[in-house]
Subunit: 271 residues, 4 copies
């Protein structure tokens, strides 16, 4: 793939493993779970405990929410980060959160274990360079309009700043189909595997935008070769300030985790 230096898969086919705490992304099967946004300490801690008990490996939660309208809930900011850090302490699990402003990167790093770049910021090169200078792993979501080549070049921006720990995340692309919120492009998984050594996970929550499709698409993602999943889970989705249609309850998440673990096990045996 043109222009790629650091992101390109080498002749030795060696793959990157990103270690966060005890979790080895790219080697173990990894599930990141938690609410779309951190809304309160109670909501976040309850959800974190719930997803941990269900078997999730990493806790997610947004403190800075990029929203279509300036009048929608924009996240709790620093307060949200402190709650996330507490959730991490209580559960013993690493936490991931989205960062949207290059000026925030250094201090956000004090509260979380993985920095997430959202789809809308995939080509925010200023932000990419800044997280590239940090010492935290970066989860880079694919832009909803982004080709594989453009996406990998964005990973290259981060790698070129000296940060080797980039995790790719497919979260659905924008097409004409309106039944789903986005069109989850699972073929990008084997495509990524043949172009780059970086791990790739899938976000079926944004990828479909529909609760009823998440279980099946999560299993299909693992079967397509994904190294993990990022799934929105909320202790009470109906009260959520964003994405209420696509967040699972903890009770829905539990049996899904069991199926995902079996699928990951099966895939190891069959490939």
């Amino acid at each position: 793939m043109k222009n790629l230096k650091l992101a390109a898969l080498g002749a030795d086919k060696k793959r990157t493993v990103v270690q966060v705490g005890n979790v080895k992304i790219g080697e173990d099967f990894v599930v990141m779970a938690g609410p779309c946004g951190v809304e309160s300490e109670e909501q976040m801690i309850n959800t974190a405990i719930g997803v941990k008990e269900a078997g999730a490996h990493i806790i997610r939660g947004g403190a800075f929410k990029p929203r279509t309208s300036p009048y929608a809930f924009q996240g709790l900011g620093l307060k949200g980060l402190k709650i996330l850090a507490k959730a991490s302490e209580i559960t013993g699990l690493p936490v991931i959160t989205e960062v949207v402003d290059p000026r925030d990167v250094s201090w956000v790093c004090e509260y979380v274990d993985i920095l997430q770049i959202g789809a809308r910021n995939m080509q925010n090169f200023t932000l990419l360079r800044e997280v590239g200078k940090s010492n935290k792993p970066v989860l880079l979501k694919r832009g909803m309009y982004s080709t594989l080549a453009e996406w990998l070049n964005c990973a290259e921006y981060i790698l070129a700043e000296g940060n080797p720990d980039v995790i790719l995340c497919e979260r659905g692309i924008r097409t004409f189909e309106t039944y789903t919120r986005n069109t989850l492009d699972l073929s990008i998984i084997p495509a990524v595997k043949e172009c780059t050594h970086l791990p790739i996970i899938v976000d079926p929550s944004h990828g479909t935008g529909k609760k009823s499709l998440i279980e099946q698409m999560s299993i299909a993602s693992v079967a397509a070769g994904a190294d993990g999943l990022e799934i929105e889970v909320h202790c009470d989705p109906s009260s959520a300030k964003s994405d209420s249609d696509q967040q699972l309850t903890i009770d829905e998440f539990k049996p899904l985790m069991a199926k995902l673990n079996k699928t990951a096990e099966f895939m190891k045996s069959v490939m």
Copy 2:
């Protein structure tokens, strides 16, 4: 879904099973395999025997090829149908072929077991009505620009003529991504399952257009809940008159069949 009468999933959640010979599409896991086009008796018979030995359930082969250019190979027509019938006789397997002209439907039915409507003809309502009047099962491919609602309405056209045996086939939609020939939309599988009682299979060959992605996407299709697959296999892809980049050899198809059977078995156990 608006306007659907016969195609809509009923309150009883009962699902259609399309029986062809001993094969029960919608109940058993089914693989249709064979070359893009019937090119010669030798090519077709050799491929048919090969895919049968590998475990395929139905033989595919195109006698009428809808090609972008009028100067490209257009298929062998009647001669191709006769070869297909012979392949069926030799292997004992049912055969499927694409029909493109409403005037051909009645006599094509004499040679094959399943009629295929290609993506470009999904909204060729004249042709849909004609196959709806036939007594053969119809495989209806999703148009490359087609929403779920439009696709199911096309199935409705066939059902409304009295033919209950419609099989849907996802074969990739057209997006901005150029790494793959099309973008295979696996989320349409659970979406189809919640809207209609008709079975759905996946064509990963056209869906990706890339040999290197077919195995993984075939397995992912089964994991997404597909009732089967249609895969292009050619006894000598490098000599193929069409789609040479996406046809598997018989040697490549064999281990894939083994993995697919295991995956289908696994999915039964996990869901």
Copy 3:
């Protein structure tokens, strides 16, 4: 452009002019107007007289309507064609109608002056070949998912059968934008002009699907170099059996014609 023989623009840059009655498409500025569907003699004749008085050059009206749902109004068929012929006789203007079935082509030719191939049938190669064998000019709409290369290859199918009179028609492509019904791609006009000698007109009615946008996009089409327009006009749009949101009244069409004539005049002077 690859594979084009007859459709390709020659070194002499000579352009095709399609003559229908006194109208020279590709030389004069031409407007085709009329209802989406022929619904009754009264509706069709009233509309035909209205658009003639407003200055339209060709009457349009659908006798065979390709509809998403099998239960929607499908057109009056032969009865509609007879009404169209009568409208032509009364106004002295040529008529254009869509043909959808290869079996209909020969007898439809007895009633109308131009055959239209709709967007959904752009790659219905069987139908293309059949109209290619007729002695009537063919208006070939661009498929809503069709690249320029694919479109011109479809024109090539018609030309290759011996029919030199092909008129291209841009009618909007399918994108993610939902404000308009389709996205009218006016850049295809100069693109067409540099690739082929065939004339090109624009259908702003389907192209936008919104009455409020039609005037401005009609004028912009002429400014983009279109050889003409096809506009839906209905004597009473609110009662229309299809496309009621995008059909102009005769009173709305009249001032538009005046503006279009001025724009065509202006474009001649400025280019």
Copy 4:
């Protein structure tokens, strides 16, 4: 349109006019012209003088270039801004430049008259808020994947910070068509006019990515109701460090300006 407060067109239909120096965007027909990137003082000054003589009203030039690859030319930064300021001084025309980092906004404002937000940063809400706090007009490009509703909500982000001077710019959306670099969506112009009071201009250079299509699409943009154009012009495109295929020479730009002025004049008379 949902959620819009400040950007929505009022009942009085009053439209915003953004004044920059003597130029009234939204009232006068306005052309912004200049190179893709500022590459050297000589290149920028020569181009600025050339486009001024041709009749352009505002000088454009990029000092910060958001590039797909981190290894491509990224712009001259501060040095480029100083050259731009000098070009403004010499020609007496206002200058516009893209800003990509929220930390740069305050000091970039010291060198230029209009801040540009590029397509990739349309939903970089951090950056939108920052330019919303500045006292410079902002040109907001439509994201290549952006619906009208999303775009106007981004304008709302800027307006909500207290900056009333937002200019919209259509620059092509991403579709399946590969003949052009993007698909220029001119129907967005009348659509914008019916939803918001903000002025809208068109960038046919990025919108088509093809020199041969720019003239016709520029004229069509004016005919579609655009308040102006942003056109890439370079004193020596073949030596350009970016976008060499789509930049006009000064000699190509001159006759285009003459045609555009006539078209703007004509449109005033006809509408």
